[in-house]
């Protein structure tokens, strides 16, 4: 199977400081690649070069066979790469339907005037969430009243509803309790089953081993290891994170 995303020789320099050096890896459809590493290892810089927030100093990113190196964040999104940030970019005071459609709301005509079709958007949200195995008790409640796992699901639902082929998730379990962390892990499994590629940033070892099909370890801006979870163990990953190369 050909790769969905290929990063080749990515390099990012901020002034005299080389934050990321020669990073290369692939993501295949339905595969979850975990970018692991300590704080400051360059994980965020790498995903920002993929999502179009940063321009790489050198290197190339290709997605679905086309070169997307240096494209704007907007262009990368419409190409099918969605980034889910830690704050989830949800409007807490709106219901899941309006969050799903934020910026692209559905309207209907009433007496010749365009009027928001809240019901249709809500039903779509319930449908998409059901596809992710999440049932919200009250779809007309604001997102604020929902659990961390449900909120994460809404952010993911928005990504896949707009046909994302690759989802980048930045520490999705960082602010969650244990049951909600499990919910998110289950969500990742279902996304994989749909053939969506995932890049997951994490430094939580249980998460890494639970979700990863491949683990790419970064240390001080370089790849310290690229391995499959069944070929390694906690101890080795930690050693790689600390900067010991294979």
């Amino acid at each position: 199977m050909s790769a969905l995303l290929t990063a080749t020789g990515l390099n990012k320099r901020f002034g005299g400081n080389e934050a990321v050096k020669n990073v290369s890896f692939d993501v295949h459809p339905g595969e979850c690649v975990v970018l692991a590493g300590d704080n400051g290892a360059g994980k965020s810089t790498v995903i920002k070069m993929i999502s179009g927030v940063y321009q790489p100093t050198a290197g190339q990113v290709s997605f679905n066979g086309t070169d997307i190196t240096g494209k704007t964040a907007e262009a990368v999104r419409s190409a099918g790469i969605e980034t889910i940030y830690q704050d989830l970019a949800l409007a807490d005071n709106l219901d899941p339907g309006l969050n799903l459609y934020l910026g692209r709301e559905k309207t209907k005509k009433v007496l010749g005037l365009p009027v928001l079709d809240r019901k249709a958007m809500r039903e779509d949200a319930v449908e998409v969430l059901k596809g992710l195995g999440i049932v919200v008790p009250d779809a007309s409640a604001s997102v604020r009243e929902m659990s961390g796992g449900q909120r994460q699901a809404i952010a993911i639902a928005r990504a896949i509803h707009w046909q994302a082929k690759l989802v980048i998730m930045d520490e999705p379990t960082a602010a969650l309790g244990v049951p909600e962390q499990r919910e998110v892990m289950a969500l990742i499994e279902r996304l994989k089953a749909k053939g969506v590629g995932i890049i997951l940033i994490s430094h939580n070892l249980p998460d890494i081993f639970a979700a990863a099909d491949r683990i790419v370890v970064l240390a001080r801006g370089v790849i310290a290891g690229n391995t499959r979870p069944e070929d390694t163990n906690d101890e080795e990953i930690v050693r790689m994170m600390m900067g010991a190369t294979l």
Binding site: A89, L90, A91, L102, E105, E145
Partner: protein, 337 residues
């Protein structure tokens, strides 16, 4: 699981809907209070007299014209203090144009004068929008600045005095009625419907709510936030400006300070109506009730013969109560997850 969780959830939501309806209850309460007072003190009715109802509705309309656009700005997480003098500026400019055209001016000139007055207000709105959207000036400070500038501009063009006019057409607009409803009430009612439609039923309205909750989310969703903020401040200036046009028409005079005493009431109406300083909540129907609560207090206190200064005390107290209710709402229903 559902049985044990259903009860507290139902209890909380009942309490929540009561708190959301508190402004309705409060309005009914003060009406009942003044009615009882009137029955005991004078043996007459307070509420069931057309003159009283009209006076309350006109007073509420004056407040509403400033508060309607302000509601949208507050929902987006901002504030517009300059409306006090967008009103005055529009009032003065309209009066100057009518006076310049002479007493025989006719309908066309009066409407043209209104249009020019409205443009004066829109100018203030554009400056506000530019400051907040493009220069990232906090709206409290930015609109406090334009509050001063519009005040000065209105006083300068008016020569520091009230600009009186003689126009039967303007007087007909300010003091006439349509099917028994005073024109200011009809205008405020129509604007309230338009603002309700915008806020509750359009994409622009959803983006306004979302802006108040999470600006970054709205930007990432591809909405042009700068343009949106610009439009919000223009809408606010337009409704306040129309307030100025109504003022000049009612009193046959344009005064620079036409809106100044109403600013506090307009801000109060918005917050009594359920909006929050942090943005993301508030409704036009809430603001309408808020405006009526203040108008009833104003008129009721005058009616009951208390010195008029008590209205300031009463309205101030109601604002504080509104904020306390808002806070307790957060304490009771928030904190989930």
């Amino acid at each position: 699981m559902s049985a044990t969780q259903a009860n507290p959830r139902a209890g909380a939501s009942l309490l929540k809907s009561l708190l959301n309806a508190w402004s309705w209850l409060f309005l009914i309460l003060i009406l009942a209070f003044f009615e009882t007072y009137a029955q005991i003190e004078t043996g007459n009715t307070f509420l069931f007299r057309v003159f009283n109802l009209q006076s309350i509705a006109v007073a509420a309309s004056q407040i509403l014209l400033l508060a309607l656009g302000l509601t949208l700005v507050v929902v987006a997480g901002h504030i517009d203090l300059s409306i006090a003098f967008s009103t005055g500026f529009a009032a003065v400019v309209m009066a100057l144009v009518v006076r310049w055209a002479g007493p025989e001016a006719g309908w066309l000139v009066v409407f043209a004068a209104m249009f020019v007055g409205l443009l004066a207000a829109i100018l203030v709105g554009i400056v506000n929008g530019w400051l907040v959207a493009h220069l990232d000036v906090p709206s409290f400070i930015g609109t406090l600045g334009t509050y001063g500038i519009a005040r000065g501009a209105a006083l300068i063009v008016a020569g520091g005095a009230t600009v009186s006019i003689r126009s039967t057409e303007a007087r007909a607009i300010g003091n006439g009625d349509i099917l028994g409803f005073p024109v200011p009430v009809v205008v405020a009612g129509a604007l309230a419907l338009i603002c309700h439609y915008i806020l509750a039923h359009t994409r622009f309205g959803v983006h306004t709510y979302a802006l108040g909750a999470n600006r970054a989310a709205v930007e990432r969703a591809g909405v042009d936030v700068k343009r949106h903020l610009m439009l919000l401040f223009i809408i606010s200036a337009v409704t306040a400006g129309i307030g100025g046009l109504i003022y000049t028409s009612r009193f046959s005079a344009g005064a620079a300070n036409a809106g100044e005493p109403i600013l506090l009431y307009a801000v109060a109406a918005v917050f009594i109506g359920g909006a929050s300083l942090t943005g993301g909540q508030g409704t036009i129907s809430g603001t309408v009730i808020g405006a009526f609560i203040i108008a009833v207090i104003q008129f009721g206190l005058v009616f009951s013969g208390l010195p008029p200064y008590w209205q300031f005390v009463a309205v101030g107290l109601v604002i504080i109560v509104a904020v306390l209710v808002d806070q307790s709402k957060g304490r009771i229903t928030g904190g989930s997850g």
